[in-house]
Symmetry: C2
Subunit: 467 residues, 2 copies
Amino acid sequence: MSALISQLKDLLGPHGYLEGADAEAKAQSGWSHLGTPPIVLRPASTEEVSKVLTLCHEAGQPIVAWGGLTGLVESANVGHGELALSLERMHAIEEVDEIAGTATVQAGAILQTVQEDIEKHHLILPLDLGARGSATIGGNIATNAGGNRVIRYGMMRDMVLGLEVVLADGTVLSSLGKMIKDNAGYDLKQLFIGSEGTLGVVTRAVLRLRRKPDSQDTAFIAVDEFSKLPKLLDHMDRKLAGTLSAFECLWNDFYRLLTTEPATHTPPLAQDQPYYVLIEAMGAQQEQDTSRFEAALEEAFEKELIVDAVLAKNQSERDKMWAIRDDVGQVAQNWPIFTFDVSLPVKDMEAYVSETKARLTETYPDHTAMIFGHLGDGNLHVIVGVGDDSVQARRGVEACVYEPLRSRGGSVSAEHGVGLEKRPYLLVTRTPEEIATMRAIKKALDPKGILNPGKIFEAQPLKSAAE
Amino acid sequence: MSALISQLKDLLGPHGYLEGADAEAKAQSGWSHLGTPPIVLRPASTEEVSKVLTLCHEAGQPIVAWGGLTGLVESANVGHGELALSLERMHAIEEVDEIAGTATVQAGAILQTVQEDIEKHHLILPLDLGARGSATIGGNIATNAGGNRVIRYGMMRDMVLGLEVVLADGTVLSSLGKMIKDNAGYDLKQLFIGSEGTLGVVTRAVLRLRRKPDSQDTAFIAVDEFSKLPKLLDHMDRKLAGTLSAFECLWNDFYRLLTTEPATHTPPLAQDQPYYVLIEAMGAQQEQDTSRFEAALEEAFEKELIVDAVLAKNQSERDKMWAIRDDVGQVAQNWPIFTFDVSLPVKDMEAYVSETKARLTETYPDHTAMIFGHLGDGNLHVIVGVGDDSVQARRGVEACVYEPLRSRGGSVSAEHGVGLEKRPYLLVTRTPEEIATMRAIKKALDPKGILNPGKIFEAQPLKSAAE
């Protein structure tokens, strides 16, 4: 490997890599340690990425692309003998086209930086998530990031119009079109979105922007029965016609955790209801939209869909409401914890949560289970603490959370991806035929298996695989 | 082939196929003759589709899947020695889940039938297009259909949550999840959407539905300068916050054609402006929404973005406005004609149209060019008549329409697909590397090349291809 590393160093120059303690430090992300790569390569252009991959491909050298390292499923982990490829030097926002409503950005650009730059043009990139300050656009694309506004604007996949990707053998696939519609052959970019860097390395993208809304209405709501949640969503979505942008649900335990000391937030509503919802709409005229929003909530009261509600009267109150929802870090009070991100049909959600809790109670009577999620997307986050973070405990808790998904057609990953962490459970959601097809695609695009090997599915097919 | 055909007939039974004159009649679609398949297979279940493909795969027998045969790019044409596979007997609407907002349907279901069934649930499938009465859901998926509401709801791709597909070798890939979010491995369904039946045969789908809007506002508008069109779109989209559902532009020649005898429509506005726009918004409360819509138009007048406007006061007036836009068949007055469907960045559109017209005028001084399109999507339809439908004339006109796309990063197909018709021009929009990657995917999923061979790209790689 050392000859290859010398070649790569020569290629990229002194700013083009990190070694030793610098590489070590880089591999220490906020949440976890990603391994000990012998070198972290830092190419400054698509051409350099292409040359790096050409050399690695020739040598059969495995390599893992890195964005902001904010992933939650061990998808950026670097195994023994693998190199890391950081896109951090490719962070330019190359163009914002106000007429087309697009931004052309390099993969290493930080989400928040891009968001802020775009807002100056009275446009928005609707993707938003807690890790906005470190997550990169390339990582958002590689993981098909979700977040709080999926209900209105979709996931990252829905915001990518054009994509430039470097394939395993160094081939540059450049398709940086700005059009919403382009049916000229296979839509190849879809393959790279959400495939966690296993099929190619994203270097640039054309993002679809939206007009910046001029009004915003936010409310915290208490609901007394699960069955009313989808009805409330249906009601609000109809009444707010096209402007509903968030419908975030918090189960009682989680709401109490976030609004009780040591957490610093005052509860906006009494803590005695089983469900809380943070609802937001983004529209055009503040006054008209607020009265529409209030009327919709009024009607929800009359229909007995909601028990209580408080509306944000200004930006500061709105910020406080979102600060509650975003203070997910409070779950660390129950450390050690296991974090899950599942999706399933909304009508099955109540039974799913009951079954999961019953399974947990049976094995871990003293467990904590914090549940919240993007109900409109069918997405629940479940955070479980059982006072033990051994592999055995993890497997036990995973069984409780994942098994009840099987019969309900649910997914073990709504938005976080699979990485290494969820790999053992991929068959809960995918059939052997689907996994065999994924392998066939992987083999077609990365025949030597050098790109992020072993993520999503094992690098070598299992003997029992359907392939 | 006759032994295989006997096997297939035995497999599907007497209702399971058409031969001779019946097959011949079936191959005569409204627009064109699709070939003379020796047999049209009509399986009644996914299992039968799987068995058909298994037999064809073993025999290396090429086969072309058929939906409603409303395509415009020769993508359902059946070449010599190829069989046809009609999904027409698989037309059930299996389930509408009101809580999840999904419909599970078989591929052969007619779009309009599905639309009407879903509306009974106070939901909509937002896809809408002129061929709704014969186009099928499977065909809509295989071609990633667009239509009039893409600006708000996206293309067919955005409405597919789950998909069941039969691969070339008979493998059934079944992934009929109902979730908006599912990042558990590669999103395989994206491969089959828009790949024109070359990678698999769609048998069932879970479609994403939306709430049925309770209000509708529609206006016909005249605009005096191209540069005002994107400004008007921006203005209306902001003011109508999330409810703008159509922004259809008609160039003067086309508007005059549609509102002058022998066409039966009365012009809603004088015929003296260069551009006309049909704008529609779909919202929640008719009265409020109408005043918002009127106020937005009022403001557009004040900003001098529009010259004249007429609002539909009731459903009958609305229907009349749409009847104008939908009466595309009037272009047959200029028969023979060539039909194009291009997309490009909006800011380049005026220059593109000028250049295309100049090129046409140079070679065909007496040509007609009717232009209309979905401006918000960057999509133009261009219909050219030069009094000659020879291959030579076609190639000449194609050069005039496609060449100016090259330097502007445009696409030769916004929504119609490639089929055979646009195959010679794929390199205008796609790089050799992209086409080589498409071939690699095709080879991985259909190694014998039996599914709709030769569509999108040549069945055998050209010697000059980058592969």
